[in-house]
Amino acid sequence: MTLEVGSGLTIGLILGVVIVVAAMLIWVERRLLSFWQERLGPNRVGPFGLLQVVADMIKIFTKEDWVPPFADRFSFVLAPAIIMTVILLSFAVIPFGPNIGVVESNIGVLFILAMASLGAYSVMLGGLSSDNKYALLGSLRAAAQMVSYEVFMGISLLGVVALSGSFNLRTIVEAQEGMWFVIPQFIGFVIFLIAGVAESHRLPFDIPEAEQEICAGYHTEYSGMKFGMFFVGEYLGLVLVSSLITVLFFGGWMGPSFLPPIVWFALKSGVFIAFFILLRAAIPRPRYDQLMSYGWLFLLPLSLINLLVTGAIILST
């Protein structure tokens, strides 16, 4: 049995594995967070609490599927579907291994940026259609945050694109044969990391949700599986950003040959997933205006300078 890019088997495997990993992350995150807070975390259900996810899923599937009477029904139901769809679509262009992937796209980077922008609609529609002041505040914040952070998320990637000369993610990985792009593009990597956290609205940049300030922000009115889709969508976004960082800056599937390429890919992505969880455990949430001014006044100029210097060096050599 051989895997090849775009075969039905590969697509099914990628879809299944990605969703299962995203669901398992619920348990992984709770466990890791508790270790970093000197607790034990969920360890009752099954060995090491592994079946906690199953229990959570049973609970969330059997909950009443409720739409508030004051909500706009169509967009209320549509919103959680959008975030799942666009993030799963983004996985289509990611090369998981030398022969594992869904499509060979020459515009992979652009496709992912476009899908990330569409993801903003999910949050906006969810908050607007809920007809709830906290949800509205959440979606306002989400819209502003997404718009401002997408700008330099794209610009920080352009350094990598310039070095490899391609928008194709597979070509970008192959261009890192000699040296991972994290070394020449370290500033780009840090900016993309920060933008990635903001883009998947995880702590410390979970301003649109911000339980302590505005209930749960845009998904205040959601319950049952519709909330579950937002929830798993967040973890899918986490997996996506981690695998993007791996692909763009850390040489994708490449590594010493004693492990198969897909394992290297999983290991590298896992490190970044753990790092994102560590960010959540350690860093407090900034104020909303701090987040905006930090993005526009510091990260955007920095990413522009980074791109400028990269371009100058490429031209001069």
């Binding site: 270790f35 970093w36 807070q37 000197e38 034990l40 560590l278 350690a282 860093i283 930090y294």
Partner: protein, 179 residues
């Protein structure tokens, strides 16, 4: 510029490293049902009624515990034996109200009511939280092994007249004190 870098980057990295080190610190959690905590002997938990060394009920139904109780969770009714001893006809503690303050134990003149280091008293039915005398009475003496109220008290009962208690002087015949 330096303070900006210090605030935005260095202090965050220091925080991240500090939190990451917690991975190798033993968790503070006590895994309770598997790992029982040490209960101190004076812990104020489930209330019991003790018996004296002869096996009789210590409680004399004086109602002092019910009066001392700040949440009024104790109810009892006095009865009297043929030999003159007092005893509670019923003695009822509503543990859904009880706050385990131990005032009843302090008020008790006969060391009958005592608090024990047992706290696992959860019930599925609320009515089961109400304990009757049969549930409260234990066979032993509790914390005071050789205390017997009727043996030391001046109270007159059948088989023990005035002045026959331990360390009790004979009643004085006031007429013999005449000058």
């Amino acid at each position: 510029m330096f303070t900006l870098v210090k605030d935005t980057l260095i202090s965050q990295v220091v925080t991240l490293w500090g939190v990451f080190k917690k991975l190798f610190v033993k968790a503070d959690t006590v895994e309770y049902p598997d790992q029982q905590p040490y209960m101190f002997p004076r812990w104020r938990g489930r209330i019991i009624l003790s018996r004296d060394p002869d096996g009789e009920e210590r409680c004399v139904a004086c109602n002092l515990c019910a009066v001392a109780c700040p949440v009024d969770c104790i109810a009892l009714q006095k009865g009297e034996m043929e030999d003159g001893r007092w005893y509670p006809e019923f003695f009822r503690i509503n543990f859904s109200r009880c706050i385990m303050c131990g005032f009843c134990e302090e008020a008790c003149p006969t060391n009958a009511i005592q608090l024990t280091p047992d706290f696992e008293m959860a019930e599925y039915v609320r009515q089961d939280m109400v304990w009757e005398k049969e549930d409260l009475l234990i066979d032993g003496c509790g914390k005071y092994h050789d205390y017997n109220f009727y043996r030391v008290a001046g109270k007159q009962i059948a088989g023990k007249d005035k002045g026959e208690a331990l360390n009790e002087a004979k009643p004085v015949d006031v007429r013999s004190l005449m000058p």
